[in-house]
């Protein structure tokens, strides 16, 4: 307890020391887009929103929005962000709460809710700019707040990645929130590996540390214009940045924190499958925002990404169910949920890059490869020593890795993310091995290797350092009692 207070004190001191610097930079406007073209013209022409804004101007001299803002794109981006937020709360919150043993329903849900809240605070104070701000290192952006009026209402841009996309037509506030919901769901997915025994205090400390030191590096390297993006590795919506990272970090965390009680490992029945199914349904449809929002425009590619997401998910769910039926003699609804998640995860890095056939192939693979990982590999003598409560390594780590590598194979150059003009016509796309570009597969493998190593080492170090100050695992007496001992509350009233 004393050590925990000491650690919290250190965190508080660090934050207080950052405050003056944060205040000084609080008025910073978002970095501007691109420098003038030299070799070729700019990638694409931005959508023109100015005439609509000007036409709406009343005699008094007011306009509703700056000329760069496109209300349709902004509305879609905010809606997509809200869909993804709903995947966390209540989606994963009730999915976890329903899938775990009755005595852990509240603790599991609370871990999700706390993570969602704490990530937002970290995100706007420093982590957004570490992930999407101006370059500090090739793998990390400069920390800084995303809180000033000038920042929030300025035109959105990702300064290090601006050359590969049209000028964005919504504000930085929309961008910051949209990226926050991805950051939040990552650590929430990771939490699925340590349900049923991780100390809530340890979780409270772990979430902001992991967000600051691990997530930001992966996000900047691939999405923020960092070294992997510059090399040409792709990840449409987070197969690597989110799911591979969560799968690897979750598995490492499960190993370092230690297992559940043996009795819980032997007998851990879902306490409410209908609640779990409700969460699973929110997760599936929420993915329309997850993958459909990533082009940053309500454009044709967004539609393609949404359709491909649902195709792959449907195929994966059916395949996983067939695998369950063949292996165990009957279809399982929990298995179907896992198949659904594996399909959603598998298509995530590829959603706007592959065509419908590619989505079907990814769905088939997602129903088979993660199934073997969960039902065979994670039950082997070696890997079963690590108590990955919900099998996050398989449904997110393996599925994300598989999807990322298959993107390097199946990416169709005709799936234009943005339409180009002039020298950039027909537009920006990615070409996979199947279409003659083996190099893309190698780039995908390189990016996967980086994310795996980063998360394995980083998560291990964070938890080991934390373990000097706070107990990572609840004591056995608390583990026996569950929610009532940790929170003084229970999901189901005994009376």
């Amino acid at each position: 307890m004393t050590r925990a207070r000491a650690l919290m004190g250190i965190v508080l001191i660090v934050v207080l020391n950052l405050l003056p610097w944060m205040a000084a930079s609080a008025q910073n406007q978002p970095a501007t887009g691109t420098a003038p073209a030299t070799t070729t013209p700019a990638p694409t022409a931005p959508a023109a929103a100015a005439p609509a804004a000007a036409a709406a101007a009343p005699a008094g001299g007011w306009v509703a929005a700056p000329p760069w803002l496109n209300s349709g794109n902004n509305a879609w981006q905010l809606a997509a962000a809200t869909f993804v937020a709903l995947q966390s709360i209540p989606g994963l919150m009730i999915l976890y709460a329903g899938l775990v043993k009755k005595k852990w329903a509240i603790n599991s849900a609370f871990m999700v809710m706390y993570a969602f809240a704490s990530v937002l605070v970290v995100w706007v104070l420093w982590a957004y700019n570490m992930s999407f701000g101006p370059k500090w290192f090739p793998f990390l952006g400069q920390p800084g707040p995303a809180t000033s009026a000038g920042f929030e209402l300025g035109q959105a841009t990702v300064p290090e990645a601006a050359s590969g996309m049209p000028d964005l037509t919504f504000p930085m506030a929309t961008m910051t929130y949209f990226q926050f919901v991805f950051a939040a769901i990552t650590v929430i997915i990771l939490g699925g590996s340590v349900l049923g025994r991780m100390s809530f205090k340890a979780w409270v400390i772990f979430v902001p540390l992991w967000m600051t030191f691990i997530y930001t590096i992966g996000a900047f390297s691939i999405w923020g214009g960092g070294w992997l993006a510059a090399a040409g590795a792709v990840d449409f919506s987070g197969g690597y940045v989110i799911h591979l990272a969560a799968g690897v970090s979750g598995f490492v965390a499960a190993s370092v924190v230690g297992p559940r009680l043996q009795a819980d490992r032997d007998h851990f029945p879902p306490n409410n499958l209908l609640i779990a199914l409700t969460g699973a349904g929110i997760l599936w449809l929420g993915w329309n925002g997850f993958n459909g929002g990533d082009p940053y425009f309500a454009n044709a590619n967004a539609g393609g990404a949404v359709l491909n997401t649902n195709i792959a998910t449907a195929v994966a769910l059916m395949t996983w169910t067939a695998m369950d039926s063949m292996a165990y003699g009957r279809p399982s609804i929990v298995g179907a949920i896992n198949g659904m998640i594996a399909g959603l995860v598998g298509i995530t890095p590829a959603a706007g890059y592959v065509n419908g056939w590619g989505a079907i192939i990814i769905g088939l693979c997602a129903g088979i490869i993660p199934w073997f990982s969960m039902n065979k590999l994670q039950k082997s003598a070696l890997l079963s020593k690590v108590d990955d409560t919900l099998g996050v390594l398989s449904t997110h780590g393996v599925a994300g890795l598989m999807g990322g590598l298959l993107t390097g194979v199946l990416a169709d150059p005709n799936m234009l993310v943005y339409i180009g003009t002039g020298s950039n016509a027909p537009g920006a796309s990615t070409t996979g091995w199947f279409y003659g570009n083996f190099k893309q597969f190698l780039l995908q493998a390189e990016a996967a290797g980086f994310i795996i190593v980063l998360n394995a080492i980083g998560t291990y170090v964070i938890l080991k350092v934390m373990s000097f100050f706070v107990s990572l695992r609840m004591v056995d007496a608390t583990l026996q009692a569950g929610d009532n001992a940790v929170h003084g509350e229970e999901a189901y009233s005994p009376v």
């Binding site: 691109t34 420098a35 003038p36 073209a37 030299t38 070799t39 070729t40 990638p43 999407f132 990702v158 290090e160 990645a161 601006a162 050359s163 590969g164 996309m165 691939i222 999405w223 923020g224 214009g225 960092g226 992997l228 993006a229 510059a230 090399a231 040409g232 590795a233 792709v234 990840d235 449409f236 919506s237 990533d294 082009p295 940053y296 706007g352 150059p413 993310v417 943005y418 180009g420 003009t421 002039g422 020298s423 950039n424 016509a425 027909p426 537009g427 920006a428 796309s429 990615t430 070409t431 780039l443 990016a447």
Partner: protein
């Protein structure tokens, strides 16, 4: 007798031609390398037909004044102003432009050929 004199004559001529062919072949650039020493690349976007030039300086090893890695197989450079990376395959004439975007890399494909005049 005349026949016996003809054989060494033919052999000598054949040998001479063979040696000359080998020497010429070694001196000439490989036929699969259409732009061995380009001073200017004329690039065309196959979809739009837009054409533009890239100045290559093999002595200073630059492309459009940006530092370039020039090898027998490719010319690669980075647009330091905009962040794009350019990869020109000298054998196929294909120019790949790699930009960083918020989904990772994104790619554009063009075709280039060498033109002799500079300026």
């Amino acid at each position: 007798m005349p026949i016996s004199l003809q054989i060494p004559t033919v052999t000598a001529v054949t040998a001479g031609l063979s040696i000359a062919a080998i020497v010429l072949a070694m001196a000439a650039p490989p036929s699969s390398d259409p732009v061995a020493d380009p001073t200017r690349l004329r690039c065309t976007n196959p979809a739009s037909g837009t054409t533009w030039d890239v100045a290559i300086d093999p002595v200073k090893r630059t492309a459009d004044s940006f530092p370039a890695e020039i090898t027998a197989r490719s010319i690669e450079w980075r647009d330091l102003a905009r962040g794009g990376r350019y990869e020109f395959d000298r054998a196929s004439g294909e120019l790949t432009v790699v930009y960083a975007s918020s989904m990772g890399g994104t790619f554009l494909k063009d075709q280039c050929r060498a033109v002799s005049a500079v300026g």
